[in-house]
Amino acid sequence: MSGLEIRGLRVSFDGFTAVDGVDLDVRAGDLRFLIGPNGAGKTTLVDAVTGLVKARGSVRFGDEELLGRSVHRIARSGVGRTFQTATVFEELTVLQNLDIAAGAGRGAWTMLRRRTSVPEEVATALDTVGLAELADSPAGTLAHGQKQWLEIGMLLVQDVRLLLLDEPVAGMSHDERQATGELLRRISEERTVVVIEHDMDFMRSFARSVSVLHAGRVLSEGTVAEVQADPKVQEVYLGHAATEDAGDLAVREA
């Protein structure tokens, strides 16, 4: 298992600096929550780590420097992510979705033939995320929460060692959140997990450690209790969190 080590990360768009010198260490096997108000730079941080946006600074995962690599190469070095709105291949079945996720390393010959059986890691993932019964349903017909689980399942079969999840429980019912949280806990026993979340209850229940981002910088870091006790956090974040908690479901950060 490897940890994530970010040094002096900066991302700017047309003069606007979204991430402004972030240093962050996530040790191997952590279940880290990233919180912060809209515009704090949480999603941009994940975008930078996964190669979606250009950034300066350094992002090391294990022994490897990720910055400057293309998206699919970063993915192949064991870093996977999900998106705020669940992105699964709607026309393909659950099984096909997972099979594709499992197959980045396949050779041409395998690719050009049909899938004749269910690969073992896919079968395992189906059970882990509880979608075994829906294996042959098109992913487009899944409920919102099920899609999120499918995405997590895809990260599992992809065998990533670092999972970056962007609001995985948004729009889920209470029971689903509970199930998701427990799933993440299990996953983090073998892998490193970073979760962006607005849901404070969910964070309190499952976070092993928390980083608070504000205006592109890390404001505070520590356990849930430590962060909650931090007056800076109370001032800039929790202060207006109450009003935003409900409303930030679909609104994208600018």
Binding site: H72, F89, E91, G103, A104, L112, R113
Partner: protein
């Protein structure tokens, strides 16, 4: 392949049916002239097979298939013209318009039948690979890709027209007499050309079907629906798209090559923007994502063009335009989706109910 599977069984039945229709029914029922037209439609259908793969499955709106069709067609026609002229002679149009006294260097390899035959498929594929490499790497997609393809088709046509001495200019390569030694004005040989085309079409359909149902086919759909997502799974979508694009180009090239003996002419008029759009329209009307739909759509649209223009020589453009508008605006899945739409009406209701019980929809 597992014959017991329902899907495969249906496919085999369909295949056998198509073979019977193409090889036994059509030749018996149609006059030589109509059979010749059918051969031409089947060439259009071959292009549609590729379009189904690249556009229907891969989301690449290939508005430049005329280029590949033309490359294949010209490669074939160049060989046939050289063969017609006989050793040591220049093709007729070069004697008429050209200043050269010997074959231009880039014509010479096409004198070799093996090279020419290989080139009909490999040349379009190579061009597509080169172009695709540039375009997909730089993530040019969607509308950009479509318009770029059109511009390319138009540039290629203009270039061909400008090189009258070596390409026949606007006329194209016409008056092709023989096909590897067989006189093309003999109805029996024309019929054989038809059989070759029909066989080639079935072969391409089988090939495309294998691709579509392979793991690659699933991945291609995934790329179409969310390219970024696939990238985060560790694939390079550029390569995935490239394969579909190159295969589609090869199919268009083969279609162009076989079009030449069937119709006896290849010209820039088959390469520019308008024919390139017409190639796509057939697949779109029939159903771009469905092989059967795309193939039947291409044949139907080509047939409708002939039939409507014979029946209403002055007004058929209205019908053509209307057909595209109605089929695409109101039936995006094409005619192939009609059956599915009807079937799904019954099936989706319970599925939706299940969704609601699991969680509140976002």
């Amino acid at each position: 392949m597992n014959l017991l599977k329902g899907r495969s069984a249906r496919a085999w039945t369909g295949f056998a049916g198509a073979a019977v229709a193409l090889f036994a029914v059509a030749p018996a029922a149609l006059s030589d002239f109509r059979l010749g037209l059918l051969a031409k439609y089947l060439c259009m259908a071959m292009v549609a097979v590729g379009i189904c793969l690249a556009w229907g499955r891969g989301g690449l709106l290939t508005l430049g298939q005329g280029v590949f069709f033309g490359l294949g067609g010209y490669a074939m026609a160049m060989h046939l013209k050289i063969a017609d002229a006989g050793p040591g002679n220049l093709p007729d149009f070069m004697q008429l318009y050209g200043t050269a006294t010997e074959l231009p260097w880039w014509w010479r390899p096409f004198g070799n039948p093996v090279f020419a035959l290989a080139a009909t498929v490999l040349l379009p594929m190579a061009v597509a690979a080169l172009l695709g490499l540039f375009v997909f790497r730089r993530r040019v997609k969607g509308a950009y890709f479509a318009i770029l393809s059109q511009a390319l088709a138009s540039a290629f046509a203009i270039w061909l027209v400008g090189q009258q001495a070596t390409t026949g200019g606007t006329n194209g390569l016409t008056d092709i007499q023989g096909f590897f030694g067989y006189a093309l004005d003999d109805p029996v040989n024309q019929r054989m050309v038809y059989f070759v085309i029909a066989a080639a079409l079935l072969l391409l359909i089988a090939l495309a079907r294998q691709l579509i149902h392979s793991r690659y086919g699933e991945l291609l759909v995934a790329v179409r629906d969310s390219e970024e997502r696939v990238r985060f799974l560790g694939y390079d979508p550029a390569n995935v798209k490239l394969v579909a694009y190159v295969v589609a180009a090869g199919m268009a090239g083969l279609a162009g090559a076989l079009f030449v003996p069937a119709v006896g002419i290849i010209s820039p008029a088959l390469i520019g923007i308008v024919p390139s759009i017409e190639f796509v329209i057939g697949a779109a009307v029939g159903g771009r994502a469905s092989l059967v739909g795309a193939v039947l759509g291409a044949i139907a649209v080509a047939w409708a063009k002939t039939a409507l223009s014979e029946e209403f020589p002055a007004g058929w453009t209205y019908f053509q335009g209307l057909l595209f508008v109605v089929a695409l605006a109101f039936l995006p899945g094409g005619l192939a989706s009609l059956a599915k739409v009807l079937r799904r009406r019954g099936a989706t209701a319970p599925a939706k109910a299940a969704v609601v019980t699991v969680g509140e929809a976002a």
